[in-house]
Amino acid sequence: MAGLAWPNKAVRPYESLWCLTQRFLWLNRPSRSDLVHTIKLPAENIFALSLICGEEGKRRFEQESLRRLLHLSDLQWRRATLDMSAVASQTCLEMRFCRECLTYAYHTVVFQLLTVTHCPVHGGMLVRGCPYCDKEIPTTFKSRLLRTPFACPHCKRALAEAAVIMDSPCIGPHHEIAKIATWYRWVAGLPRAESRPLPGASKMPQIDSPVLPLLELAGRRPAPGSIRLNRQPLMEGSLLSACFGARVFWEDEESCFDRERRNAACYKSYRRHLQRRIPDVHRLLGAYARRLDGVCDEPIPPSSEEAKTAAFALVLFRNSMEGWRDAHCFYCRHTRLSAGTRGFEIPFESAGLGPHGGINRFPCSRAERQWLLDHFFCEAIRGIFAEALLRAREMVRSGAYQMEILAPSESETRPYSLGIFDPQERLEFWSLRLGKGTKGANRDSEVRASGAGKAGVRSRLALPLLVTRIAAPLHPSLAAPISSSRDGSAPTSVP
């Protein structure tokens, strides 16, 4: 690097961009204007760059200047940063260090993962912020850090000795770091179609996100032991898996109109299924509907709390799905449910199944995509009913009833759905609904079904079968999480 102090072999294995940047600042002590002149970007852009996550779009372009400045190869760059799309919610927002590694002036992005609590090399507990004053050290390229490179910006103490920053020795065997980084890279690069993250997961500590354990299970790639995944939500939640069977290559030309009809048919089938499961449902529903409209003041017929809850949940569910204007609609017979008359919209695009493929350019045929859409839709309406059960339970307990639309994006019980290929390249559908929140509300859960369809044409048949097996709201004995089969024909339990 002409005119700048920078080692020939600068990058140690998996060394973070933050560490490299700090070493560069320490070695060259540039002023703010020096840096602006060198990187050739506006100051406000430079000093807002993340030094932990590789970013996308314009930010990626800006980080590229930094990559060139530090002479990082593409591989070194990937190892120096975390994939924003894969682990953004799993990272620590301020710097975390291993004290032992700091004696080597070393930091790796793996330390920023909340799932990694101990140094994979030395085994020591990772510490947040400055090891001396405990104050936060930002992960971005702050201009004030220019005055104290490789030191705490608050107490100004150097994080490593000068001679060590100068020579930057290797930290020894780094295969554990490599394992973690490789696993996370696999997560980031795994081609998949997925629904939006679990809403319930946003309230729990991010380290407890059940998405990674589900990916680990569905992708059949166990995380290294040093990654502490919380698999408890997976065990407590309901998990469902279905396989498309052998791959097909023919194109299924199905119009949007057909899809609407199929969704409507799916919904009706599910509704009929629920009605069959709820005792005296028509009598109860009639009573609730009249009460809600204020037409009839007669008391609600005595019944069990569970029956009341289930019946009112069905009212809420139909209200959400059918887009009623008032309770009179309950008596109207809908001959056809179209997008125009139905209030509920399935977020296909957000599920990663829009016309341009999945979030990670999920490579599936049109038939496979349709099969996934059916399953995503089915799981979505299950989530709505589970939400309706929760709300109904609260209303029955309080005695204050009201009609409401249960928006799918806010639903606490919306499942996390995933489309993925198994090792035999067969399309799989996985769905996880967290146990938390639905516990005690008699959640609907999966039951064993038989004769699920095989590939291609049979995938059309798989939808009603799936619907048939998903709901059993009032039978706690059937509440254990059970998955359907991997090959679509014989359901199996998930361990």
């Binding site: 700048l4 102090a5 002023s31």
Partner: protein, 329 residues
């Protein structure tokens, strides 16, 4: 007038532009001395000599090249020409050092930052070269005083704390020897112990054989254009050169002229400055045509006339007034 001089491309010739330096026996001795100091990891030494001997040319054109050959590129070498200022400024000195080192960030508002920057840059160069030793050569060092040396001392300490060694070689006129005396008298012994551990004179050309060696350089060891195989003598006298003309042939006559025109005080030993040899040769190349050299030889009068034009006599008279201890003879 040599007609070659009038060709447009000749204006780019290193001899015309004065951008060349011949390898001479004094330069060889100078480099051998420097290498010995480097091998001994001396913290600092100085090389002195009266002006016009070719010290700066040696520093500028030969030292880095020869050190690179000897140490196989594993010894970072930095060179600075010290600029005298009315008032000492550490900022200016550090900035000049950074600029001389070709550091991309030459300026700062904080001298500590500049010192850190410089020390770390030197250290990194040494590390990248696979060693822990750096050489800094300061030309025109006769103008440096104790504050300047104290700043260099800080630089040396900063490098030392990083585990790297800095050898500072000051090159300057005979006044450097006076500076040594001043440090002794003012009690700055630590500066002497750091930067004046060793000293060596830089001498001029001392006999006809050495002069022949130098003139041979024009005939055989120079080349322009690059990779052409054409020496400077060949370039300016193409036909004469092919006919056997060599400037080295006149080394004896030239030496006798230098000796004749030089000081004759008792005990004075002649050191002919390279400047006057080079100017004499350049004068011959400029003023005599190729045709003339084909037809006839240079006369004693021609040579004496060219030497006279270099103001050799006046310069040597001035030098002869300098005490022999300061001249290194």
């Amino acid at each position: 007038m040599n007609l070659i001089y009038q060709l447009p491309e000749s204006l780019d010739h290193p001899l015309v532009r004065g951008q060349y330096a011949l390898y001479t026996p004094p330069i060889e001795e100078f480099i051998a001395t420097v290498c010995e100091w480097i091998d001994s990891r001396v913290t600092g030494g100085y090389i002195y000599g009266v002006s016009r001997l070719g010290k700066s040319r040696a520093v500028r054109f030969w030292v880095e090249r020869r050190l690179s050959e000897k140490y196989h590129g594993q010894l970072p070498f930095f060179r600075m020409v010290y600029k005298r200022h009315d008032r000492f400024s550490e900022f200016e000195l550090l900035q000049e050092l950074l600029e001389a080192s070709r550091h991309r960030y030459g300026k700062s508002k904080n001298r500590n930052i500049m010192l850190d920057r410089l020390a770390r840059f030197y250290a990194m160069r040494a590390k990248n070269a696979g060693g822990n030793h750096v050489v800094l050569m300061i030309d025109e060092a006769q103008d440096m005083r104790d504050p300047e040396y104290r700043t260099i001392c800080n630089l040396q300490n900063a490098l030392d704390s990083l585990g790297y060694q800095l050898t500072v070689i000051s090159v300057g006129s005979h006044e450097l020897t006076y500076q040594h005396e001043v440090f002794i008298q003012t009690g700055d012994i630590h500066l002497i112990a750091r930067f004046m551990v060793r000293d060596a004179p830089f001498r001029g050309i001392r006999n006809a054989d050495e002069l022949r060696f130098v003139l041979d350089g024009y005939d055989a060891d120079t080349e322009w254009p690059e990779q052409s195989g054409i020496s400077y003598t060949h370039y300016f006298f193409p036909h004469a050169f092919e006919g056997g003309f060599r400037i080295a042939k006149y080394s004896r006559e030239l030496w006798s002229i230098f000796a004749e025109m030089g000081p004759h005080s008792p005990g004075y030993k002649l050191d002919v400055p390279m400047e006057h040899i080079a100017k004499t040769v350049e004068g011959i190349f400029r003023n005599f045509s190729d045709d003339r050299m084909v037809e006839e030889e240079l006369t004693q009068g021609d040579l004496a006339g060219e030497v006279e034009k270099t103001a050799y006599r006046r310069h040597m008279r001035a030098i002869s007034l300098i005490p022999s201890s300061a001249r290194g003879r």
